[in-house]
């Protein structure tokens, strides 16, 4: 069995002393789709930020695409793992939407017509054709969120890490997004953190986080119990 | 009939030339609760930012609590209107959660024991007792959103303007929040922008925004038609 993500006994404490991850054990197979659910502050974002080495394990072990997450392997890991941050303001830094979406592929050495196609396609997927010339600062929240998803899609990574992909999206585009994610899940390994329970229905496996710990994989009855208790 | 908010022919264009509001006509009675729904970029946030004079009408007229929104009346209007921003990062700027929640009442001249009580109560309402000493920067997205709601509740304004109050909240606390908003709507004038259609069910009136324009008030059949089309 090939695992692309393997965490065992993973722990993390923020510099101010907040214990955010206690003892995380998680294995994700290639092309598996995983959804993490759990209350605010339970550690979902902290866990996701480990998956491309933005945060480094304080305790325990983490392997991504078979490599230990360390300085040496960082480059390779990051070319395989695309992360969409929860707050889109954290993700966009170029002067225009076009440049932001082109940034990843450009760094991967893609140029000219191919680059243009990739950018256009990514913007098209998130429903923002023609937004290329706008400044990323000057968008509505939902538009920023969409651009930040496009910046990662344009890179075409194998593993997609999405922190609340539907945060702030309007209910009209949200439906399209769910379809998109469903499609991506067929061809990619996808790890999602979300409060959107409908999104978790699309995933192969759902885990419940609480207080820095990860539950066992939830089975159907466990999951519907949670869903019912929240209706 | 007493209207606390009266907008007629309101228009706004951002400095970079984006036309965000075209011709908004909206009247809100005292203690009425209003919910704006609409796609990303339709102008909801832009409209809400007018209600306490953060943005000033480029075209048309706007009166809040019977006063024209201009430099002279700004102070009075702002003491009546509490705004919760869409992105909590824009709202939190003090070194600790306690100071952030105390900022509004402190500016209103409240001190000592009374201040402490107000802050404690507001933190309690959003489920963050004991978070006072934490730095606002060191919270998860949902926790920040909760704090930003507390910063406005602690001021006890008559008119509450909430931009996506449930954005990023976990489904567990979201239920409590809906109850809280329901309660607030009984005693306050509340204007909400939201993508959360369940939230709109709690409001007296719902308006659909699209491309900088506001629809007429939606009636029950119109509303359920929208809801059904999005299921």
């Amino acid at each position: 069995m090939e695992y692309v993500i393997e965490a065992s006994g993973l722990g993390y404490t923020y510099p101010d002393g907040s214990l955010a991850l206690r003892d995380i054990n998680l294995r994700v197979r290639r092309n598996e789709s995983v959804c993490l659910i759990g209350p605010n502050g339970s550690g979902k974002t902290t866990l996701l930020l480990h998956l491309n080495g933005i945060l480094r394990p304080a305790r325990g072990k983490l392997r991504v695409v078979g490599l230990d997450v360390n300085e040496k392997n960082l480059k390779l890991i990051r070319s395989n793992v695309g992360v969409v941050f929860q707050n889109p303001d954290d993700q966009l830094f170029m002067p225009s939407v076009y440049e932001d979406v082109a940034f990843g592929p450009l760094n991967a050495g893609i140029k000219g017509k191919e680059l243009e196609d990739k950018v256009a396609k990514a913007l098209d997927v998130v429903g923002l054709e023609g937004y290329g010339v706008k400044s990323s600062n000057h968008l509505s929240f939902g538009e920023k969120k969409r651009v930040s998803i496009a910046t990662v899609l344009s890179m075409g990574p194998d593993i997609l890490v999405l922190d609340e992909p539907t945060l702030g999206l309007d209910p009209w585009i949200r439906g399209d997004f769910m379809e998109l994610i469903d499609e991506l899940q067929r061809t990619h390994t996808v790890v999602i953190a979300s409060h959107d329970l409908a999104l978790s229905e699309l995933s192969d496996s759902v885990y419940l986080m609480g207080d820095g710990q990860l539950s066992d994989r939830l089975d159907e009855p466990g999951l519907s119990q949670i869903r019912d208790s929240l209706r | 009939m007493e209207y606390v908010i009266e907008a007629s022919g309101l228009g706004y264009t951002y400095p970079d030339g984006s036309l965000a509001l075209r011709d908004i006509n909206l009247r809100v009675r005292r203690n009425e609760s209003v919910c704006l729904i609409g796609p990303n970029g339709s102008g909801k946030t832009t409209l809400l930012l007018h209600l306490n004079g953060i943005l000033r009408p480029a075209r048309g007229k706007l009166r809040v609590v019977g006063l024209d929104v201009n430099e002279k009346n700004l102070k009075l209007i702002r003491s009546n209107v509490g705004v919760v921003f869409q992105n909590p990062d824009d709202q939190l700027f003090m070194p600790s959660v306690y100071e952030d929640v105390a900022f509004g009442p402190l500016n209103a001249g409240i001190k000592g024991k009374e201040l402490e009580d107000k802050v404690a109560k507001a933190l309690d309402v959003v489920g963050l007792e004991g978070y006072g000493v934490k730095s606002s920067n060191h919270l998860s997205f949902g926790e920040k959103k909760r704090v930003s709601i507390a910063t406005v509740l602690s001021m006890g304004p008559d008119i509450l303007v909430l931009d996506e109050p449930t954005l990023g909240l976990d489904p567990w606390i979201r239920g409590d929040f809906m109850e809280l908003i329901d309660e607030l709507q009984r005693t306050h004038t509340v204007v909400i922008a939201s993508h959360d259609l369940a939230l709109s069910e709690l409001s007296d009136s719902v308006y659909l925004m699209g491309d900088g324009q506001l629809s007429d008030r939606l009636d029950e059949p119109g509303l359920s038609q929208i809801r059904d089309s999005l299921r």
Partner: protein, 213 residues
């Protein structure tokens, strides 16, 4: 280039304090009541920006009196005008001295003058002359970059002179040492002034068109 307490003799530091207070008082008087709601946040953010820039670049080169700092005074002056920028720079150095002990209290007058006012007032004058002389669209950028370089070099020259006149280092040692290092540091300053302004020009050109006081 932040001179600590004890490195200047009494005559020099009092003289520099007097000069700086006169400039600052004039600047405050000149800007008083003319700063709208929009200007104060802009001043604050510029101060923070320059502050952060100076912090991130500490220890660029630590070599005999020359921890290479990026100053930002010309950038501030181009955006805000000479007097408003002087206030911004003064705030930066006050906070650095008080909070980070970067530069002393008695030497604060000298530091404000060397690294602040030379750039905001002298640099601005030079910039407005240069950008008039040079043709074309990039006049503003090139003018700003050039005066940024000159203001850094001048600042290091003054700093070295003050220390030497106080008798703590012979002119023959301090001036060549500091000026040569800062001729290089100034290039970085010029490049950063250039790119930041170019970016601002593109995304928020309205910020360049504010009233300059």
């Amino acid at each position: 280039m932040h001179i600590p307490d004890g490195f200047l003799c009494t005559q020099i530091w009092t003289l520099m304090w007097i000069i700086s207070i006169i400039i600052l008082a004039y600047a405050i008087k000149k800007t008083n009541d003319r700063l709208g709601e929009k200007k104060v946040p802009l001043m604050g953010v510029l101060a923070a920006f320059i502050f952060a820039g100076q912090m991130l670049n500490v220890n660029l080169v630590v070599f005999g009196g020359t921890s290479g700092h990026i100053l930002g005074s010309v950038l501030a002056a181009v955006l805000l005008g000479p007097y408003t920028a002087s206030i911004v720079m003064a705030c930066v150095f006050i906070v650095q001295a008080l909070v980070f002990q970067d530069g002393g209290i008695t030497a604060l007058g000298a530091n404000m003058f060397n690294m602040g006012f030379i750039g905001t007032i002298g640099g601005y004058y030079l910039y407005s002359q240069l950008s008039k002389k040079i043709e074309g669209r990039n006049a503003l950028l090139i003018g700003a970059a050039a005066s940024a370089w000159i203001s850094v070099v001048l600042a290091s020259f003054f700093c070295a002179m003050e220390i030497s006149l106080s008798g703590f280092s012979p002119l023959g040692v301090s001036v060549p040492l500091m000026v040569s290092v800062h001729a290089f540091v100034g290039l970085i300053e010029a490049a950063l002034t250039f790119t930041s302004l170019a970016y601002i020009m593109r995304v928020r050109p309205d910020l360049l068109k504010l009233e300059k006081i």
